[in-house]
């Protein structure tokens, strides 16, 4: 993913907000950003709370999404929710800079990772901000490194 520079140009005469995307070509990265801006619900996920009520969660509040029987368990800052969709479907809808699939059963929010460890058994232990932990194979070390570098704007 290319680096994104956000610039604000004040225009006292403007009544509405105009957003202009500038790039060498209209590629997949540009399309993804344009659709996120255009869709007011982008960056959110619709889930069900324990009482069965629909809740719109911001992606920023999600810690992990994991498979739980035939549903998804969405662990957020303020509790757990459910979703009736597949992990693959939700993965394609989430911000790829924030979320990373670490196994067949789980997606994590990289912004909610507290710490990484390498266990004696040789697996990657991931401690999340809510003090829960999850595991990933060694394979994901390089994947996570590249994603964190992208987030930092190094790549």
């Amino acid at each position: 993913m290319k680096k994104v520079h956000v610039t604000f140009q004040p225009d006292p005469a403007a009544e509405d907000i105009s957003i202009v995307f500038s790039a060498s070509k209209r590629d997949a990265d540009v399309e993804a950003l344009m659709s996120r801006i255009a869709d007011p619900l982008s960056g959110t996920v619709t889930v069900t709370d324990p009482r069965g009520a629909l809740v719109i969660l911001s992606e920023d509040d999600i810690i992990t999404i994991s498979v739980n029987s035939k549903k998804l368990r969405v662990t957020a800052e303020d509790g757990e929710y459910e979703m009736k969709t597949s992990l693959q479907e939700i993965e394609s809808a989430l911000n790829p800079l924030l979320f990373l699939r670490i196994s067949r059963y789980e997606i994590i929010n990289l912004a909610k990772v507290k710490r990484f460890d390498f266990s004696i058994s040789g697996q990657l232990r991931i401690e999340m901000v809510n003090n829960t932990q999850t595991w990933a194979s060694r394979r994901y070390i390089s994947v996570i490194r590249n994603r964190l570098k992208q987030r930092s704007g190094i790549l």
């Binding site: 390498f118 058994s121 194979s137 964190l148």
Partner: protein, 159 residues
């Protein structure tokens, strides 16, 4: 994957031959300059000195091929490192026994079996420690990136 295993095995075959002969040379210096090219029992099995030395060379190569070929398990990154180490250890130990017994490198005694198991265990542990250190530093880099990550989009204001 198959071609990678074959390439490793081929390289291991050559390394095995080299190491096998190196051990013969070193043992010659250790035993006051007298070279023992092969165990006498091998001469009886093969019928000639050339045959005995060839057999030892080939089986050394075979062991090297098995050792390096099976090390591919460390590249299976979906496997925990400990699992890869244990599997590799079992392969190189179980492969060593019949080769070593045939070549006369060890006797079929409990003591020799245990000695071999311990020596190969030590070698495997060293490999595990090196691999663990490599991954430990990679994970340390992850934490460093985590600590110092900036916002993906840089914000600027133009007036």
């Amino acid at each position: 994957m198959r071609s990678r295993i074959l390439r490793r095995a081929l390289l291991g075959f050559l390394v095995g031959i080299a190491v096998g002969n190196l051990i013969v040379i070193i043992s010659g210096f250790v035993s006051e300059g007298k070279i023992l090219l092969f165990d006498s029992s091998l001469l009886e099995k093969t019928g000639s000195e050339a045959g005995a030395f060839l057999m030892q060379t080939m089986l050394s190569g075979l062991y090297g091929a098995i050792g390096m070929g099976s090390a591919i398990v460390y590249e299976l990154e979906d496997w925990p490192l400990l699992k890869a180490s244990v599997i590799h250890y079992l392969i190189i130990t179980l492969a060593f026994y019949p080769i070593a017994l045939y070549l006369g490198w060890m006797s079929p005694t409990v003591g020799d079996f245990l000695f071999v198991a311990v020596m190969l265990g030590i070698a495997n542990t060293i490999i595990w420690l090196i691999m663990y250190a490599v991954y430990h530093f990679k994970v340390k880099e992850l934490n460093h990136l985590l600590k110092h990550e900036k916002v993906p989009a840089e914000e600027e204001t133009q007036s």
